[in-house]
């Protein structure tokens, strides 16, 4: 018995390298280098763990512009068996509804038993895409997952989930979409030979909206949500007073506390 495990990865601006625009004093994300969405590294490790438990293959998937194939190379270097780049101008402006549709169709085309994603992306932070993929396909979903336990004899995947104030263990029928809690899986290092292969010889499969037969169902025009405006947020005015003497601080605390 072996499973096909698809893992979603996304290219995002590197949060640690996001600079401040000197003219406006605001964050300048455009100049930051592109990296793999950090929670997706956890997802990759979770996908490889499931493969260790049950056998099969891990296929990395990204939806993005052609240059997003760098994150796929990285995923292959880290141990993925194969990768698919879903790229098409038709996807431009997609909100989470068509984005999850696209990834759902991709997972179906791969005949995936499990789809693993990070809990959210650092550039949009919605966390809506993994449940969206599951809902489009009518599959089970497990979000905020901290540990995975493949149970091939039951055709199920069990997972430990973080819930408010505690944890639960849930078993879901295959196929299942798993969203991994950020910071719960330590990523294994990429092997040197794998790295060389990924960078030099590997080419991901490329699929378009037409290949997935969803050309009319994606993009800005069919997205239920739209951005109505952006306002900059004024920083809260604080005194910014740094005291040298701990007595002064104790005094302030006593006053506030009174």
């Amino acid at each position: 018995m072996s499973w096909t495990i698809a893992v979603g990865v996304k290219q995002v601006p590197d949060d640690d390298e996001v600079g401040i625009d000197p003219d406006t004093g605001r964050l300048d994300r455009a100049s930051a280098p592109a990296v793999m969405n950090p929670p997706d590294r956890d997802a990759l490790e979770a996908a490889l763990t499931i493969r260790d438990q049950v056998g099969g293959e891990v296929i990395a998937v990204t939806m993005g512009p052609p240059n997003a194939k760098t994150v796929l190379e990285q995923a292959v270097a880290m141990g993925c068996d194969d990768a698919v780049l879903v790229t098409d101008r038709a996807f431009a402006g997609s909100d989470t509804w068509p984005t999850s549709l696209t990834l759902a169709r991709t997972a179906e085309a791969l005949e995936a038993d499990v789809v693993v994603c990070g809990e959210e992306t650092t550039d949009s932070s919605t966390g809506q895409v993994p449940p969206g993929i599951a809902a489009h396909n009518g599959w089970a979903q497990l979000t905020y997952v901290e540990g995975v336990d493949a149970r091939p004899e039951e055709d199920r995947l069990a997972a430990r989930r973080d819930v408010e104030g505690g944890h639960e263990l849930v078993a879901a029928d295959l196929p299942v979409v798993v969203a991994v809690a950020y910071g719960e899986f330590d990523t294994r290092p990429a092997g040197l030979h794998r790295k060389i292969y990924a960078e030099n010889d590997f080419e991901p499969t490329q699929w378009t909206a037409e290949d997935l037969e969803i050309k009319e169902e994606v993009g800005l025009d069919v997205s239920p949500t739209s951005v109505g405006g952006m306002e900059t947020v004024d920083p809260v005015d604080r005194r910014g007073e740094v005291v040298d003497d701990i007595d002064d601080l104790a005094e302030v605390l006593t006053e506030v506390n009174a």
Partner: protein
Amino acid sequence: MSDDNGSGIDVDEYDDVWVFIEEHAGEVMPVSWELLEEGRTLAEKLGDELVALVIGEDVDEIAEEALARGADRVLVADDPVFEPYRADPYGEQFRAMVEAYKPSIALIGGTHTGRDFAGRVAVPAHAGLTADVTEIDVDDDGLLQARRPAFGGDVLATILCEEHRPQMATIRPGVFEAAEPTDEADGEIVEADVVVEEADCISEVLEREVGDTADITEAERIVAVGHGVEGDLEPARELAEALDAELAASRAAVDEGWIDGARQVGQTGKTVRPDLYVAVGISGAIQHLEGMNKSGTVIAINNDPNAPIFEHADYGIVGDLFEVCPDLADRLEGDLQEVVQ
């Protein structure tokens, strides 16, 4: 479901403001009552009814409480299949209820369960869903304006959903005041048809262990720890005790596993608004500031004089937190004793 975006539905057929009451084993998440209060404001502006959505098992008391806290109507789906929460039966039930009752707006708490649920139900309903909303209003045309922080909290983006219904949003806990119970409840409780059967469910909860859920959003005083505490919470705990404050944390401290995620303040955690916020060993990343902006007095303790937190604090001290915190705690205990004497 409408596949034909924009032309598939008549938005005028949809009205009422729905609030999802999140309950686990009879206990309601506080954010649900916050949404009921905010939902009331929206419903009045729109001239619509405020409807509480209660899904679970043996939830009569919760339905009554929702009425007491201001719902005009409570839609109840009561069945053992809904306890404990699972995404697939809840999602299917919600889809059926949207089809039957056609709500215009649906508000859901931005908890783990709320985000799991919202992401699941927006797809089959072909709804527009906005995540992690911190401000909400309706415009002159009655269109929901859901505002959410973007670009690390630098910008507030307004998200609209013009041609689809319901207009859905997950709302960050702690942003709004909770609706209080009154004696004047005169709404009605409506039993909804349960469309889900256990045999059709594709997931099974094998174990569930939940303790007391910390609620830092209600705290009047907070001592929050960051990466600088290096895993040792004792100094901060001592200070918190001296101040009678709740302990909270930045994402860094939660990710390290030093403290429970329910105590996380910031963009991916909770919004707090205590009278006093003491940041211990917190550098002051913009994602964290966003969750503590509504605090009264902010005090920073950090050994790095260049830490951004000092610009966002009212008072700060540059020093080793392992010395400053116990020292401060001692002085405060001394002050209290003086007052007592």
